[in-house]
Symmetry: C2
């Protein structure tokens, strides 16, 4: 497979490029909205085009359970099924080995899941993960990996990494679809020597792109940034680097600064449905009193569909009255916010002004306190009936 990423400009470690896929080119750095079950929650593909999304992420394991891989294959593949003609990347299901930890067993053969839908039992092997992603017809497939939670011991992380490496070989051997790029996933937790070993091993297999997995799983932000930076330093320059499950606006800026090209995260869409909206100063909760009578949009100057057509007061009302339209309008705003952020960073990289952009961003954008952030995430996980992730020490 020829190079799929063309680096067009760099500024420090930050890179601007073009990721070529069978369903079109993706200007990088890029943020992928999350369509776990084949739908970015609350919005449609035309909304996504309108707000500048260029590539989506879907999930092999979720789609395997429902509606079933064969159903989608018979409908002409995932693009056709969900009416999105742009690029799609699928996670293999490895992340569900983390997020559905209480419902799975990991063995050499693969991951055995107990379905969260009907309790049935399913073995996801590396070969199956590849077969499924080939049947879905997505542009970028991910190797099956073991993604351990933060806080495990080094021996456990090493073992998870070794399995990930053996599975990477099995995935490569199984993969035949020339229209689809298969990315390897670096593991190793927060241990630099494991990360180095993982990067060395996986780059020797010559994947067309690499993901950094096993981050954003409960560790402090500073550690995540450090590990992302350390790992990008070990990856080939000419290939795409995808940091899985990241992130918040401040994470996106910090990780573009560290040489990441691709991101995905459910945060912007999830908090939107919970009435938390991004503005240049941070997050606001639109359902609170200050917005009850705000005539102007959520943010002056925002070019999203929501801000172009609706007042903050109306959004406030929709959330208070539990109107379904609230979720779509809020989702559009937050996705446009992070995608515009990517566009602005790309522009800054081209202009050699990335560091300036980064400083200005941090001066204005105040993220929620990390403790608040972790508590909110725990509450959300609990509301989903999932166990709490390991707590940072």
């Amino acid at each position: 497979m020829p190079n799929i990423l063309h680096i067009v400009a760099t500024d420090g470690e930050a890179r601007a490029g073009l990721l070529r896929t069978h369903h079109g080119d993706v200007p990088t750095p890029a943020f992928m909205p999350v369509a776990t079950q084949g739908s970015v929650k609350a919005v449609d593909p035309f909304d996504l085009k309108g707000l500048g999304a260029t590539i989506l992420l879907a999930n092999t394991y979720h789609l395997y359970l429902r509606p079933g891989i064969e159903v989608i294959r018979r409908q002409g593949g995932l693009h056709s099924f969900m009416s999105w003609d742009g690029p799609i990347l699928t996670d293999s299901g490895g992340f569900q080995g983390y997020s559905l930890e209480h419902l799975r067993q990991i063995g050499e053969e693969g991951i055995t899941f107990k379905s969260h839908i009907d309790g049935s039992v399913h073995l996801l092997t590396p070969e199956a993960a590849i077969d499924y992603q080939e049947s879905l017809g997505v542009d970028i497939a991910m190797a099956l990996d073991v993604c351990p939670p933060y806080g495990g011991g080094k021996a456990d992380l090493d073992e998870s990494m070794q399995i990930t490496h053996r599975w990477a070989i099995r995935c490569l051997e199984r993969h035949t679809n020339k229209k689809q790029a298969l990315f390897g996933i670096i593991q190793g937790g927060s241990f630099a020597d494991l990360r180095a070993e993982s990067a060395e091993f996986l780059t020797s297999l010559d994947f067309p792109g690499y993901a950094i997995g096993g981050l954003s799983v409960g560790e402090p932000k500073e550690m995540m940034y450090r590990m992302a930076q350390f790992t990008t330093g070990l990856l080939p320059n000419g290939k795409p680097r995808y940091l899985m499950g990241v992130g918040s606006p401040e994470d996106l800026v910090e990780c573009v600064a560290r040489g990441i090209d691709l991101f995905d995260c459910a945060l912007p869409t999830r908090i939107a449905r919970n009435s938390a909206l991004f503005v240049h100063t941070g997050r606001l909760n639109i359902d609170t009193a200050p917005y009850r009578e705000q005539e102007g949009p959520i943010e002056e100057g925002c070019d999203c569909f929501t801000c172009q057509h609706f007042s903050a007061a109306y959004l406030h009302h929709l959330f208070r009255a539990r109107e379904l339209l609230a979720y779509r309008l809020a989702t559009i705003h937050n996705l446009r916010f992070v995608i515009r952020l990517m566009e602005e960073m790309r522009e800054a990289i081209f202009c050699g002004a990335f560091e300036e952009y980064r400083q200005r961003f941090h001066k204005r954008f105040i993220p929620p306190d990390e403790t608040v952030r972790i508590i909110q995430k725990e509450k959300w996980l609990e509301a989903q009936g999932r166990p709490r992730p390991a707590r940072p020490p």
Copy 2:
């Protein structure tokens, strides 16, 4: 006020016309999507324009409770607040005297409600209903009425009607906005002599339009049709006739046949969110097995956004996976179905082919059995925490 309805063609009792309002003309017969709280559930104003909606219905009492009439007035009125620049009609709150029966007391002065939101107590007088609708700036306001449930005795219905008449005078005396039409509401239940008295009294007050209230409140369909027909026969030809709370596709056809010009009903949007979709043969439940792999749209030839872009299998999946996009796509389909039905009837009236259209419609469209329909409605009311309506004897 000059005539606001221009009848352009008739065919039997059916009429096609143009209803003139301060925010544009409405071709009649017309169906008004229901935006109780200032939002047609799950869709936005651009969706509504796209599917051919020409006039919306909102609710004074609900908007009074939340976000508050003054909030909307300060935002420039309801059109500006909800970003809908077409005509709006508001019900006065009289219907909540029926639907929130367990939370209200009716006296000569007005209706005293206990808020379903916070339990606070509010007196809605005819004068207040007018003031609120003037503040909302809607195109058509409704007089405050007493809307009794089906199954009451004649003496009770008579008394409700007499109060409605006295309130109609108070509403007229209070109403000053020349850009807004105020409609009177005929009551009298299913008693022809009461209906005749109500029509005679209210037409003597020379409202610019008349609604038929107190139907679709639990009575058998045949009785509703009979009463609608009897009442239209008593109303002036040159003024709009609005049958409140109707209806299903078969009701729309039967009541256009009886000379009704305007309709509103939550049914198409409510059942859409419950996965029931209209097709030319009746209703289907998109979340059931037959649609799991249906590659084509919900209905071949349907011109709605949903059918133009998404397969029945995808809709099926969205409902099964409880994806929010399901509600919007299903709502768009059902609203387009009933609005296209109105467009087709209008065309048939112009062509002198209404009776033929009506016969063809009934030959193909099989509504759910009436018993099933009533049980479904009761289940829904129970799920809303409301008491069951009076059962037909």
